[in-house]
Symmetry: C2
Subunit: 448 residues, 2 copies
């Protein structure tokens, strides 16, 4: 339902952009929710992104769109502007958002842009850049509404009525040293007689985290206590910033993606269009290496039980290795694709691009591991023909497994099913059959 609406928007804006119908396009963009525009940018190519972004004239709106975008896309877009333009936009963002973007830029560009921001702003960004992005410090916004504990409820309401930027639901209460001593909700504030002081009505027992707290701990706290925001304090309990529930939701989704991908040894986050083959290989390398080492170990152990030079004995002892390599790389592809489709980060129309990327990973890994495994087998057992067959079978079956693993979730999604369901044992068995049959056929031919 949501998907359909975005698809129509995507087609319409693309068509208008191609025709150069800027006026009609601007009209549509102005009526579209910022979050939807950010989503559209995921599907545009670089040229479309530049062209369509240039149609926003209002600096604040530009900043809103940039804040909602995937960081990598924001970096790409801002890198294409003059540092002055980029700095002007970044200055409008919340510090936590601008920090994420600046931290992802090449260092020289980041420095150039920071130099062009007002010093108060760039100092905040530089301070936040000191925190790891997966910690409370990396998540927090330094934008919060805190008042002294002696303030009255009436003064507090007056203060928030004049604070242009106030956009929170809790009022934090601090003492004269800036230490966090209490919290109250906007609702409590509104329901209190104006003359009472905040210290009389606040909840004094505030749960907070330090900037070094891991993001999954932050998520666990917000989840458990149903908070809408969580304050971040330093060791002396001085209020530093605020983590809002919408950022926590992003963390939870991110952690779920990480858990799913880690289960298949496919890294920690979904690759983006800008991820290089080298990076993709590096992500998937350790898991395949462990499979390879484990499989070689299995081969040597199983070989103990078998005739040293029998053809079937050789095939059987390398069977767990061969099946393991194909299954694991196929499983990595299937997991990445299913998760991407599931979270909406990939779309069915991306199939060509993603298949090319996966096949590149499959071919490169296949050749490396095929050569290594064949080499080890030959060195151990001096069975040249069989080893060559094993080597070729590893290459071929890893490539075929990637092909099956990548296309199956797309096929499921296309048929209206759940792409995750493509990772059934039947898909795995298909990979098994291909691997073993390829091995046997190759061995018979090459060793004949």
């Amino acid at each position: 339902m949501l998907g359909e609406r975005i698809k129509v928007l995507l087609d319409t804006t693309r068509r208008l952009s191609r025709r150069g119908a800027s006026q009609a396009l601007t009209k549509i963009l102005n009526k579209t929710h910022t979050a939807d525009i950010a989503l559209l940018f995921r599907f545009y190519d670089s040229r479309e992104r530049r062209r369509i972004f240039s149609l926003f004239t209002d600096l604040e709106r530009k900043a809103e769109v940039v804040a909602e975008m995937d960081t990598s896309i924001a970096v790409e877009l801002l890198s294409g502007m003059t540092p002055d333009q980029a700095a002007a936009i970044l200055q409008e963002l919340e510090y936590d958002d601008s920090t994420d973007i600046v931290a992802s830029m090449p260092e020289t560009l980041a420095a150039e842009i920071l130099a062009r921001m007002e010093s108060a702003e760039s100092e905040q960004v530089e301070a936040l850049m000191g925190f790891h992005e997966d910690t409370a410090g990396g998540l927090m916004s330094t934008h919060y509404f805190a008042l002294d504990k002696e303030t009255t409820a009436g003064e507090a309401i007056a203060a928030l009525q004049t604070d242009e930027d106030f956009d929170a639901f809790y009022v934090y209460v601090i003492n004269e040293y800036g230490h966090l001593v209490g919290v109250l909700s906007l609702r409590q504030l509104v329901r209190t007689p104006p003359s009472r002081q905040l210290k009389e009505i606040m909840i004094p027992d505030v749960i907070s985290v330090t900037p070094g707290a891991a993001q999954d701990e932050v998520a666990r706290i917000v989840e458990r206590y149903n908070f809408l925001a969580l304050p971040v304090v330093d060791e002396s309990n001085k209020l530093l910033g605020l983590i809002t529930v919408d950022d926590v939701i992003d963390v939870i989704t991110e952690e779920a993606t990480r858990d799913v991908l880690k289960m298949a040894g496919a890294g920690e986050e979904l690759p983006e269009a800008t991820t290089t083959l080298r990076e993709n290989l590096a992500t998937r390398f350790p898991w395949l290496l462990m499979t390879c080492i484990g499989g070689l170990l299995a081969a040597v152990l199983i070989h103990q039980y078998l005739d040293k030079r029998s053809f079937l004995g050789f095939v059987l002892s390398f069977c767990p290795l061969l099946l393991g390599m194909a299954r694991n790389i196929g499983n990595q592809s299937a997991t990445l694709v299913a998760r991407g489709l599931d979270t909406g980060q990939f779309h069915i129309s991306h199939i060509g691009q993603i298949l090319m990327r996966e096949l590149a990973v499959g071919c490169a890994s296949g050749v490396v591991y095929g050569a290594a495994i064949g080499g080890v087998a030959a060195a151990l057992y001096h069975t040249w023909g069989y080893s060559l067959a094993l080597s070729s079978a590893v290459v071929a079956s890893m490539i075929v497994a990637v092909l099956i693993g990548t296309t199956a979730p797309f096929a499921f999604a296309k048929l209206g099913g759940d792409p995750t369901q493509a990772r059934t044992p039947l898909t795995m068995t298909a990979m098994d059959i291909v691997s073993v049959v390829l091995f046997l056929a190759l061995a018979k031919t090459l060793a004949a």
Copy 2:
């Protein structure tokens, strides 16, 4: 950190409960956050739960604790009371919470309790019970703050100051037919001159869902637009209820668990202490059946390439099946345990109980599939000794795989690591080696 605090609380409350030190225990409980108490109840046994729950004298507090508990625990606890007591507590809950609990009770008990609730309350619960729990209707609370569009800002603030229950951050605006026509945040309301009407200041373009919307769609919308609550309306746009962001966070975690478990064919939710062996077997059956069918198919196909009655040919052709069965059931165990530890639903101290449960599943599945696979192999190839060996190898390797799969994540968690990391290819390879070596050894002995 959080875990440490809970552990201390758990030990202290257990000790005091065993000593019958009710007064000291009550004092601690009164100082403990409801969410933490609900968490403690996950670790208490049934007797401790009853005893400790009885210490809460305040009905409202009882209701708060019940609302935060896992549904199955709440059902257990309320089932042990008289229907009058249970009804009194349930009446204090939000309708969405009481509905979840009543819907999970045996029908006769649910009817008895509903009959004892005030009719206005029980009607609401019965109405909500009509919605599937995985839909917007099942998630929504019928508790919201809506005012007519002609209301002035001043009247609105007065209304929410007198509404005892008001606990939201958005004010919904409806017309004379109860149709949702706008929304405004509490912050906007506070910042508006008192004489202006809501229709002048509201945001008229409200994103809402119908009660039939799937919960993952709800989550996607709240996530994309950073809402704190999402209204639910019927087809005519009449406001029915509200889904709050804390419920959405639970949905996102639930969906993540579902995704992770589905990847391993281990059902959709983590088993609870009350889940029966039969239910656990049913959950894991389809995935294992697919593995079995796929493996048999592979065996028949591979067999084509090999000597019909050769020992190694037989072993090789059933190799993918044997490895697949062991890997898959081991993987199911490892996935369940790792996810449970990861979300905090399981604790290291649960190892004995969970290992027993998993071993029961492993033994039962092993015997069923071992017998079936051995039978099919014997029927196809008339190799009785080999088939018996295969059968025994399937049973033994499935049990060993469950043992490895269950203990590995606990071991990782115990060593301070990430339990998810226990599911590496090395664990899988360990299962492979055990399977093949068992098969070969058994075949040599039994077929000799």
